[in-house]
């Protein structure tokens, strides 16, 4: 008979709300942990506290090695809608439980974590005393390096201006582990050698790697690799990485240096030898997992058809900051004598968003291993959006869909799809191609003309989120 699940609580960062439950599900899945979310109707905007049941503490530690949005996890000792009820629960804990942390040798410390209200220092000390007396603690207090750190978490709701006198809910717990939020600083694009104006921020890159289920020794591919931000995150979690991009200059790190935007002309420098994707990976000591990058047009497939990649993660161009291009022209060209024409950069033409996403799904259906995942950003027009907008393919199913607002009119959604059947299983007579039910992405500049309604090329509202 299986041991009963134990109750824990994750304290989340108060951001990227729509990504929270997807993060939980993707981490539990990739680490094969059987845990249960206790509050199925958890609303991330309302509270940073999420209770889950795990089989044991070891699985919690394992979970937190991949946690980007989850900051801290604690074992729940008591929880309830009033302080009094929580104190009663603490008093009633059996000795078999409390002996784990109440012995004379166990040093301890208490902290108050309040959401939605600032609690003054003296009031916090009162609170700590109020709860602490209900546990038979015998050890000494150690504020620097305690054996056990106890949390009192009080939830006053998401509006500090109208916070109630008493909390809506109280949790008391013992800290078990911390998440990997520091990685977002470690891999911050602010300190990365080689960036472009569409480089994905480190936190979202890591979230995408989790959504893709990246594990050590997996083969991870980005068909619109740009400056390689997604490859860095995948390599951090042990993936071996490769990418393609149509832009020769971006891949080679040619042109203005990564940080010359806004500098006067005299101070603009060109990119040096340390500004390319391999150099970025070397900066973080991940270069042993760099397989290769190629200059290649995604619309013109170069790969031998087989189930090659474990994960495909990508941020395709939306046509806002980056043109959506593929090789081709409407002009007639005389037969080119020597087709390698050294230095010749072929003309490009518009690559419609509908085709980009359909090509991406068709490619993924063919080139992903069975049960491999595709993770990509889909720009959407808020006023029009419905689930019909998500591109579909008979071999792929959507397993996550998280929204990040860009501005009033446009959002982007992080879509995770899993390949659940091979192309070979499909009857050749059936429809085996990707389709998009909506017409939003057809035509040139489908999203761009909504983002720049006056076709002015500049935003009337500034400080939107970085986007492609």
């Amino acid at each position: 008979m299986a041991a009963p699940l134990r109750q824990f609580m994750i304290i989340f960062a108060h951001e990227h709300f729509d990504f929270r439950l997807s993060e939980v599900t993707s981490i539990l899945s990739l680490l094969h942990i059987k845990a249960e979310v206790c509050q199925q109707n958890h609303d991330a905007k309302q509270s940073p506290f999420l209770m889950l049941k795990f089989p044991n503490e070891e699985s919690v530690h394992k979970y937190m090695t991949r946690s980007i949005l989850g900051r801290t996890v604690m074992e729940v000792l008591a929880h309830g809608p009033t302080r009094a009820s929580v104190c009663e629960q603490l008093k009633a804990l059996p000795a078999a439980e409390t002996s784990r942390y109440c012995s004379e040798e166990n040093s301890f410390c208490w902290r108050v974590h309040s959401f939605g209200k600032k609690i003054k220092q003296d009031k916090r000390l009162d609170l700590i005393h109020q709860f602490m007396v209900n546990l038979p603690l015998k050890g000494r207090v150690d504020l620097e390096n305690p054996d056990d750190l106890f949390y009192i978490c009080e939830d006053y709701g998401p509006n500090p201006n109208s916070a109630p006198e008493e909390p809506f809910y109280v949790y008391v717990g013992r800290k078990v582990s911390e998440g990997q939020r520091y990685l977002a600083h470690q891999y911050s694009v602010k300190t990365r050698h080689f960036i472009g104006n569409t480089s994905m921020d480190a936190q979202l890159s890591l979230i995408m790697a989790n959504q893709g289920g990246v594990k050590p020794n997996m083969f991870v591919f980005d068909p619109f690799v740009g400056t390689g931000s997604l490859l860095v995150a995948a390599a951090h979690f042990g993936g071996y990485v490769a990418g393609c991009d149509i832009n020769v200059n971006t891949i080679h790190g040619v042109g203005k240096s990564s940080r010359s935007f806004g500098k006067p002309r005299g101070e603009v420098t060109l990119r040096g030898n340390d500004e390319n994707i391999l150099a970025n990976m070397r900066q973080y000591n991940l270069h042993d997992r760099y397989l290769d990058v190629m200059v290649s047009d995604f619309a013109l497939n170069v790969w031998r058809e087989q189930e090659l990649f474990d994960v495909i993660v990508t941020d395709p161009p939306y046509g806002i900051r980056e043109k959506t291009r593929k090789i081709g022209t409407n002009k007639h060209y005389d037969e080119l004598e020597d087709q390698t024409l050294e230095g010749h950069i072929p003309s490009t033409m518009s690559y419609h968003l509908a085709d980009i996403f359909k090509d991406l799904l068709n490619f993924s259906a063919r080139y992903l291993r069975l049960h491999g995942r595709l993770v990509y950003w889909l720009p959407v027009v808020n006023a029009e959006y419905s689930d019909d907008h998500i591109p579909q393919h008979p071999c792929l199913k959507v397993i996550a869909n998280s929204e990040q607002k860009i501005n009033m009119t446009i959002s982007r959604r992080l879509i995770t799809m899993e390949k659940y059947q091979s192309m070979q299983n499909i009857n050749p007579l059936d429809q085996v191609e990707a389709e998009i039910k909506t017409r939003t992405y057809e035509g040139s500049n489908a999203i761009r003309k909504i983002y720049f309604p006056n076709n002015s090329g500049c935003q009337s509202h500034n400080k939107s989120l970085p986007l492609t």
Binding site: D288, M294, E307, I327, G328
Partner: protein, 122 residues
Amino acid sequence: MADPTVTVNEMKIREVDFNPEFISRMIPRIEWKALYEAALSLDVVGNLSPELITDYEKDEDFLKEAHRVLMEVEVIKGFLICPESGRKFPIENGIPNMLLNEGEVGDGPAQSEALQEDDSMQ
């Protein structure tokens, strides 16, 4: 010997940590014959086996040679050559350029709608 599939003007051997699990996972996804021919073209065959052996997962020497050729040999400047068409794809700074030229793509002019709207973007 067949025509070369890779030619090299500049090559580098870089040291990469040997990871037998990764190499074992990748071998079924590689066309071994093509790999061997490429190694011949580059003159880096060494002790690379001309055929895939059974139970390669357990053969560390085999895996180490596969690792050396796959991960440590890097063509910095050269060409990939299509064995069917002879088309050469240049490699610069270790990065192959697989772009086709305009004349090699499609059947000629695309929809005129695309041409007109093209110019609306800077």
